[in-house]
Every structure is written in structure tokens, then in C-alpha cells.
């Protein structure tokens, strides 16, 4: 493989405090400080004027549906969607069919990833057997099989006692426990945020309090057990305050927010569009602002997409009956740039940080930096290019995106994994 010489890019590498126009050299699949004169001659040169070169993006929350629901997505198609969105490292949720609650299923996922994936795919395992919330999964075996965290994403562990034991047990391996924070007793039949809009639409509401309670519980149990708890897709303003308080006490909690919770609110639901149905649901403008403030002051650590593919025919139902979830990988960067960089004055470097080094560090993944010697996982993007997103033409097997057909700003031009091109944008959108 010839060396790569990315020329005159704006290189943003928050882990190394770098944000300057310069050249990036890649040789042998790794970032290198420089190339020899001979290597420079042979190197493929990429004119990156006007583009940003940053570490490949990292998403610690995706659903690739394999095994068991490969009509929605596979590790192959999901990883290509990741590459198209500039992501080079992703972390898969274990709510597959069967759930990834044993070492065999983890091995299956790792084998499929090695065989089919164009980006780096890390598995998570379940907290409880079958994600049923009743008995601990074999967490030690899962750890040995290579999970980077455990979670019952989608089915929050309801028993406080079981959650306490899961944290104590995971602490033994210093394994992160990720939690989808939802008190199920308060959300029976709920399909959208509870409030003025659900009242008007006659849809069953999912109150913020159901998230706030579990975020509080997790903070309390994290402090009590010493385990690291990562709160998934935080959506409620009070949850942000609880996290802020917990962090100020030194509790080992981290949190993520999704691009859709940062960009959209529940008042869009008047159309009963099932592409706006997800769990946790879109909330109010006050919640959205609180999430942005949380990202600004570091209360929320990173952006994660909760990329959740479903087929057209599954989403094409009455709102109550459609499954939760939307695609995220191919739109995360432009949506994050729009909300944070353009509308809320986050620096470009800050947005890159929230999509690279920060999520990588939460799970101690070998990703998210361009330090010489590290793997050449790189995203090259044009922060200003406008393009029309056609979900049906995207890389994911599904097309359930609320941004389908919209013009987005900020486009991934090139994605490299270990120095190899895994995605290259066509000349014009």
C-alpha cells in the first residue's frame, strides 16, 4: 500500500491540541510524523485544501442488527454506512436476536466484523440474561470474549438491587456499564414525550421523570459501587442537572446525546411521522437547550447516534405500532455541525472532539487521535459543502431517517481505516 500525503488540510486533532492547516502523512496504515523524500515521491497525494482532516469519527452507540435481524441491517451494510458518515470505530449494542448475552454470540459478531466490516466494530454484551432484567449475564465470559462494555440498551434494568450487583461485578474488571435510562413502570404504552404536544395529539406520553429517576439511581449506585456508568442518549433537562451534580461530586458517570435529540423537538410530531419515533423520544426546546448546554460545559461527554435501522414496511404503520429508532451514521456529522458549530458557536475542534476523542476515551478504545504511530483512521470532510441526503441511496440497508430528502451542510469526502480508503464521496452530490 503506497503512502498517503494529505496536503494542506485543516488538521483538527483535539487529543494532540492540534488545529492548524498542514499536511498529514500516512504510511503502513499508520499516521507518521513525516515521509522520507523517496516515500513522498511515491505517495498518493490528496489535495485537501478547504477540507478538515480529523481522526475517524467514533460512535459508541449503534445497532447493526446482526445476528437475527439482518433484513434491517448487517455488520457489512452498517459498517459501510459508518464509513460514509466518516466513522471508523463503532460500538454495537447487544439487543440482537438472540441477544449478545454469551461469549458465543460475541464471537459470532467479532467473526462477522472481521469478515465483513469496513470499519472497526466493537461489541457490547448484555447486563442480564436475555436482556430480561432478572439474572446477571456471564459478564466475566463476555469480558474475556472481548466486549468493551455491557448494557441492556432498550430494556433498562429495572431492579435497583440487580443493577447494584451488576455494577459491583463489572467493577471487578473495570468494565463500563452503559444504561438506557428509563423507568418502565412510568412508560407503559408510551410513544412520545409527555407534555403539551402528546396531550394535543392524544398519544401516550413518556415523561422526563422516567429518565431522571434512573439517571439519579445510576449516579447513586455508581458512587456506591465505584463502577463507571455511562448514561445512554440523555434527553431530559433535569437529567443533565443530575449528571452535572454527580460529576461535581466526582462520581464516575459519563453521558452521551444523539444528534436527533440535539436537533429536533416533539412539536414536529403533529404529522405522526414514524421517522420521528424513537426511544427516548424527542423532547421540548428546553430539554434540547439543556443538552446543548451540557455538551458545552462537559456534563455530557460525547455525541452518539443510536443508529437504529428499521425497514420501510416496519416503519410504515400507525404511530403507536411503528418500532422506535432512526438511522444516524450518515447524517451525524452534518447535523452536529449545524446545531453546535453553526447555530450554537461551538468551535469546529470542539465538535470534532465530541465525535472522536471523547467517545473513544469513555470506553478506552484505541481511536480518536492522529498521534504519530496510531492507526490511520481518518475522516476528511468539507464543513461547508451542501448536499442532498437521499436515505434510500445511502449505505445502510434501511432508510428510516427524518433527514431523508433534506439538504445538509458538511460532507464527508474521504474515510480511511488503517490508511485504506473505505469511503470516497462522488464528485458532486
Amino acid at each position: 500500500m503506497p503512502a498517503l500525503w494529505i496536503q494542506k488540510a485543516r488538521i483538527i486533532d483535539p487529543a494532540n491540541r492540534r488545529d492548524a492547516v498542514g499536511d498529514l502523512f500516512i504510511d503502513g496504515g499508520r499516521v507518521v510524523a513525516s515521509l522520507s523524500a523517496a516515500a513522498r515521491k511515491r505517495a498518493r497525494k490528496i489535495d485537501a485544501r478547504g477540507l478538515v482532516a480529523c481522526p475517524g469519527l467514533v460512535d459508541i452507540h449503534v445497532h447493526f442488527r446482526e445476528p437475527g435481524q439482518t433484513h434491517k441491517e448487517t455488520i457489512a451494510t452498517g459498517s459501510r454506512a459508518a464509513a460514509a458518515g466518516g466513522f471508523t470505530t463503532v460500538v454495537c449494542m447487544p439487543n440482537t436476536s438472540p441477544p449478545a448475552d454469551n461469549a458465543g454470540t460475541i464471537q459470532f459478531i467479532k467473526d462477522a466484523a472481521q469478515r465483513d466490516a469496513v470499519v472497526k466494530v466493537f461489541p457490547t454484551g448484555c447486563i442480564t440474561v436475555g436482556m430480561k432484567g432478572q439474572a446477571l449475564a456471564p459478564i466475566g465470559s463476555l469480558r474475556r470474549a472481548g466486549v468493551v462494555a455491557i448494557t441492556d440498551d432498550g430494556d433498562c434494568v429495572q431492579s435497583n438491587e440487580l443493577m447494584r450487583r451488576a455494577l459491583e461485578y463489572a467493577r471487578m474488571f473495570d468494565l463500563t456499564v452503559m444504561d438506557h435510562c428509563q423507568d418502565a413502570s412510568m412508560t407503559q404504552g408510551a410513544v412520545m414525550n409527555e407534555g403539551v404536544v402528546s396531550t394535543r395529539l392524544g398519544l401516550r406520553g413518556w415523561p422526563n421523570a422516567a429518565e431522571d429517576l434512573i439517571v439519579s439511581r445510576n449516579a447513586i449506585l455508581s458512587e456506591y459501587s465505584g463502577a463507571h456508568v455511562h448514561m445512554q442518549h440523555i434527553s431530559s433537562r433535569f437529567s443533565v442537572e443530575i449528571l452535572r451534580h454527580a460529576k461535581s461530586r466526582g462520581v464516575r458517570v459519563t453521558a452521551e446525546a444523539t444528534p436527533h435529540h440535539l436537533a429536533l423537538t416533539d412539536d414536529l410530531l403533529s404529522t405522526y411521522d414514524t421517522h420521528l419515533k424513537m426511544n427516548p423520544p424527542l423532547r421540548t426546546e428546553a430539554d434540547r437547550q439543556a443538552l446543548i448546554a451540557g455538551l458545552r460545559d462537559g456534563t455530557i461527554d460525547c455525541i452518539a447516534t443510536d443508529h437504529a435501522p428499521h425497514t420501510d414496511y416496519e416503519k410504515d404503520k400507525e404511530f403507536d405500532f411503528a418500532p422506535n429508532g432512526i438511522l444516524g451514521l450518515e447524517t451525524a456529522l452534518p447535523v452536529s455541525l449545524e446545531v453546535l458549530f453553526r447555530k450554537n458557536r461551538f468551535s469546529l475542534a470542539r465538535v470534532v472532539d465530541l465525535l472522536t476523542r471523547r467517545p473513544a476515551d469513555i470506553l478506552k478504545l484505541p481511536a480518536g487521535r492522529l498521534t504519530p504511530g496510531s492507526a490511520a483512521d481518518v475522516c476528511l470532510f468539507d464543513p461547508d459543502e451542501k448536499w442532498r441526503y437521499d436515505a434510500r441511496a445511502g449505505q445502510s440497508k434501511s432508510s428510516n431517517s427524518p433527514w431523508h430528502g433534506q439538504t445538509l451542510r458538511g460532507r464527508v469526502r474521504l474515510t480511511l481505516v488503517d490508511g485504506k480508503i473505505v469511503h470516497e464521496a462522488t464528485a458532486s452530490a
Partner: protein, 314 residues
């Protein structure tokens, strides 16, 4: 202004002028219903399918009756006898009905928003006969029709809706109709069933029965479902009745000429005393009768009829 809508999905989307048009058309049809020969040929040759995927007695019979009075052919299909029990989707069921040359679908469905969803899929008109806790537009139209018959102009009139508002599509449709017509709407009931979010719809929320009923010219009661008790929305039917049930003493707080309404089915002795339900202030059965004329008007208009041409349809 001519009538242009093909579907009737919600009252929220109607203008006051459109509500007036429906009421005027219903009034004309009501006259016809008083005659010896109650049938008009307005929809002769048209086929209407009543797709009722949730149980209904009154609404379904009234739609059935209305279609027959307009000389349409009617087929009624309920959840238990349709293919939805075999797992067929609403889209497929409705597209099959359209392929069978139906000219209009009347839909009753447990999922809020489903009539809007169908209206986007089908080429034929869709009339909402109640969707989840969202809207029941023909009920709101017949209730306000009945109020106008009894009270005239509703501007500034106090209308109190009492009971399970949270889960009620009837309440929502009435709220939209009444606020457009200028009435002063008060919602009353236990705080678990009447959340403050409703104030966003331009109404007053009260948990004090006496002030809610004081000087109201209309009180509309909504059925209290005992299922709500098990879900913790109130302690018991007995406590509900003792706090919010309408009885003679409490009815005396109303405006002297107030009317008592209920969309049915009634739980006698729970939300309303039996003698009040049957008393002279009750217009409960008039609501049912008006339901035919209002639904005739809705079907007629959604088929492209114009309000002013009703007099000559027969």
C-alpha cells in the same frame, strides 16, 4: 365559500366557517329526517365502508344510518372479522377496500393519527370516527350542533367538560370546536385525568367542582372507565362519584337553563345520577339523534356536495 375538503380527520384543522357549513348542512338534513320518507338519493351508487377496528355501538350505527338515508351502499367491517386479526396491516386492509371499489372509508381505530395516515395512502376520502385519544370529530360536531340548537350563539357561553379528559377523544374534539366557536371551556375532574397541559389548548383547567359548574350553561360528562382505577388514576369509582359525580345538589350550581350532555355509554350512578340522565335538562338522546344528521352532512360534503344544494338533493 365552497366546501373543498375530501377528508374529515380532525376538528383542529377545520375553520369556524367550515364548522358552520357542516352545521348548516346538518340542519337541512335534520329537516329531511323529520319527514315521512327519510331517504334522499344524494349518494346513490356510492359505496361506504365502515372500518371499525375498535368496538363502537352508537357511532357505527349512526354512520350506518346516515349512509343509508343518503342512499349509499354500506358495508361494515369490525376488527374481529377483518384480516387485521391475521396480521394484515392497516395499509393493506385499506388498500384492499379501495381496490374493491369503495368510495369512502369511515375509520374507527385505537391508534391516534391513523385516519391521517390512511388519508395519505388512499385516493378515496377518509372520515375519522374516533382515533385513540386524539379526536372524534363527528362527535364534537354533533355535540356543538346540539348546543347551538339549544343555546344559539355559543360565544362567551360557559361549557364545562367533566370526567376522564386525558384519555378522551370526545373532549379534544369538543375543545377544538368550542374554542373556535368562542365558548369559554372549563375542564374538570381529578388532576390525574385532567393534566394542566390542556390549558395550552385555550381552556381553563379546574379541580374544584363547584367553581367549574358555577353558571355553566352546558355540562358535558365523560364516561369514567374502571380500567383507569387499576392504572392508579384515581382510588375508586366510589371516591370518584363522591368527589366529581353529578347529582342533584351539584346540578343546582349550574346556570338555571343549563343542559346536561353525555356522549355515552353512561355509567349510571358513577359520573351521573340516573335521574339527571333521564331528567328534563338532559339532551343525551337528542345528541344521538343529531348524530345522524351531522354524519349525513359530513358524508355528503366529503363526497363533494355543497351546503347550499342540500335542499334540492331529493
Amino acid at each position: 365559500m365552497p366546501w373543498t375538503r375530501r377528508h374529515l380527520l380532525t376538528i383542529e384543522e377545520l375553520s369556524l366557517a367550515e364548522i358552520d357549513q357542516i352545521h348548516a348542512t346538518a340542519a337541512a338534513f335534520k329537516k329531511i329526517l323529520g319527514r315521512n320518507v327519510k331517504k334522499v338519493p344524494a349518494l346513490r351508487g356510492k359505496t361506504i365502508v365502515n372500518l371499525f377496528l375498535e368496538p363502537s355501538t352508537r357511532t357505527r350505527m349512526a354512520f350506518d344510518m346516515a349512509a343509508k338515508r343518503l342512499s349509499a351502499d354500506v358495508i361494515s367491517l369490525d376488527g374481529a372479522s377483518s384480516s387485521t386479526t391475521k396480521g394484515e396491516t392497516l395499509r393493506d386492509t385499506a388498500q384492499n377496500i379501495q381496490a374493491l371499489n369503495a368510495d369512502l372509508i369511515v375509520l374507527r381505530h385505537a391508534a391516534s393519527g391513523s385516519p391521517l395516515y390512511l388519508s395519505r395512502i388512499l385516493n378515496i376520502p377518509v372520515v375519522n370516527a374516533g382515533d385513540g385519544a386524539h379526536e372524534h370529530p363527528t362527535q364534537g360536531l354533533l355535540d356543538t350542533f346540539t348546543m347551538r340548537e339549544r343555546l344559539g350563539d355559543l360565544r362567551g357561553r360557559k361549557v364545562t367538560i367533566l370526567g376522564d379528559i386525558l384519555f378522551s377523544r370526545v373532549a379534544r374534539s369538543n375543545i377544538h370546536a368550542l374554542t373556535k366557536m368562542g365558548a369559554a371551556v372549563t375542564l374538570c375532574g381529578p388532576s390525574t385525568l385532567v393534566p394542566g397541559w390542556f390549558t395550552d389548548l385555550g381552556v381553563t383547567v379546574s379541580h374544584d367542582l363547584k367553581s367549574a359548574l358555577a353558571d355553566a350553561e352546558v355540562v358535558m360528562l365523560l364516561r369514567i372507565q374502571h380500567e383507569r382505577q387499576s392504572a392508579g388514576h384515581f382510588p375508586s369509582l366510589g371516591e370518584y362519584t363522591s368527589m366529581f359525580g353529578l347529582n342533584k345538589t351539584r346540578a343546582s350550581w349550574l346556570h338555571p337553563k343549563a343542559i346536561i350532555m353525555h356522549p355515552g355509554p353512561i355509567n349510571r350512578g358513577v359520573e351521573i345520577d340516573s335521574e339527571l340522565a333521564d331528567g328534563e335538562r338532559s339532551v343525551i338522546l337528542e345528541q344521538v339523534t343529531n348524530g345522524i344528521a351531522v354524519r349525513m352532512a359530513v358524508l355528503y360534503l366529503c363526497f363533494g356536495g355543497q351546503p347550499e344544494s342540500v335542499a334540492v338533493v331529493d
